[in-house]
Amino acid sequence: MSFAPFAVAIWIFLVGLYGVVTSRHLVHLVISLSVVQSSTYLLLLGIGYRTNGAASIFVDIPPNTKAVDPVVKALTLTDIVVGATVTALLLALAVQAQKRFGTVDPDELDPLRD
């Protein structure tokens, strides 16, 4: 069982990417994209975990108790916030695309090869 979290991270990555590739609605595509991004959070945190390690917040525990890796948590923390704002930007594009094209099906957006 010691590779389960990484296997799940790969599984989520592929499922999310499948959602992006076969999406028929821009908002569905954007949400699937955020699922793809969430796979990296799981992978990063899975790497940093140490069995029965404390949460590297030494308020009530002595500083040298066994603790989980803090760096991956810092990286993941900011990634979640940044991922959310990029998703919001994509949703804004979807809203305007719907106004402009009258549809949100990525297949029907006009090809641009003039």
């Binding site: 592929l14 590297s56 030494f58 308020v59 803090p70 923390l77 009258g102 297949d107």
Partner: protein, 270 residues
């Protein structure tokens, strides 16, 4: 409710939907195989002993007097990353405002073009009372989480978003249009930009008073109380300000889209 022509959509892209799916499934399997092959070399889940994390866990509390090592990493050791992340938020909120700005063929008006004609009946008195009453505690919780970033789990990022959800409570209570009349948007914009500028200025302060950009030059106080860990707390507050402003802007842009903007009478969207 998938929009538009459904199955009969114009397909002049080279590959059809089915081919695209097949292409992805094949390459997806190969990618999965590559990733599993890569994971073979990983330390098992749970027995990780990377030097970087071990060193930081040992060093952060005695040196920086910050008990939350994650915030120490975010706002002190790797503060330059957080500067970049903060401006990612700054740029994407600017981009959002740019994309959702009022178009030529739109005007502000009563929300008559609601989805499937649902009537916004306005919140009942009980809902309005509860939501507006909850705004206060939410903001206090947010301020607590931002202020205690270096001590307990939390920090500028999470606190900022919690503060922004206070606006949702206002919307749920049906008071958004009233709030909008107060024209808070320029104020929110300034809060966001002040947070971003404050982060850089604290960094420059490190250069002036300390020896390097973003150096922790303020007194470190005693670990565990609010005014400890030098520049970490002000940086956390700066990020909190920016994220509050950023998310409030994002939410109000989208709220404007649904509640306020509608297509101008007779304007043909080109």
């Amino acid at each position: 409710m998938s929009a538009g022509g459904g199955a009969s959509q114009r397909r002049d892209s080279e590959i059809s939907f089915a081919t695209r799916r097949r292409l992805f499934l094949v390459s997806g399997v190969v990618l999965a195989a590559l990733m599993v092959w890569a994971l073979g070399g990983m330390p098992g889940f749970g027995d990780y002993h990377g030097i970087y994390g071990l060193l930081l866990n040992r060093v952060a509390v005695p040196e920086e007097h910050a008990t939350n090592v994650i915030t120490a990493v975010n706002f002190d050791y790797r503060g330059f990353d957080t500067l970049g992340e903060e401006f990612i938020l700054f740029a994407s909120v600017l981009g959002l405002a740019l994309i959702l700005r009022e178009r030529r063929d739109e005007e502000e008006g009563p929300p008559d073009d609601d989805a499937t004609g649902r009537q916004v009946s306005g919140a009942s008195a009980a809902v309005r009372l509860i939501t507006v009453a909850l705004v206060g505690p939410t903001v206090v919780l947010a301020v607590y989480i931002i202020a205690h970033g270096a001590i307990t789990p939390g920090g500028g990022f999470q606190g900022g978003v919690i503060a922004a959800t206070a606006l949702l409570l206002v919307y749920l209570g049906g008071e958004y249009l009233a709030l909008r009349r107060l024209r808070p948007l320029p104020l929110v914009e300034i809060t966001k930009a002040t947070g971003a500028a404050a982060f850089v200025l604290i960094g420059v302060g490190g250069l002036i008073f300390g020896a390097a950009f973003l150096e922790n030059f303020l007194p470190k106080g005693t670990a565990g109380d609010v005014f400890s860990a030098g520049t970490m707390q002000p940086l956390s507050v700066a990020v909190g300000l920016e994220i509050t402003g950023g998310f409030v802007l994002i939410l109000s842009e989208f709220l404007d889209q649904t509640l306020v903007l509608r297509r101008r009478r007779g304007a043909r969207s080109r």
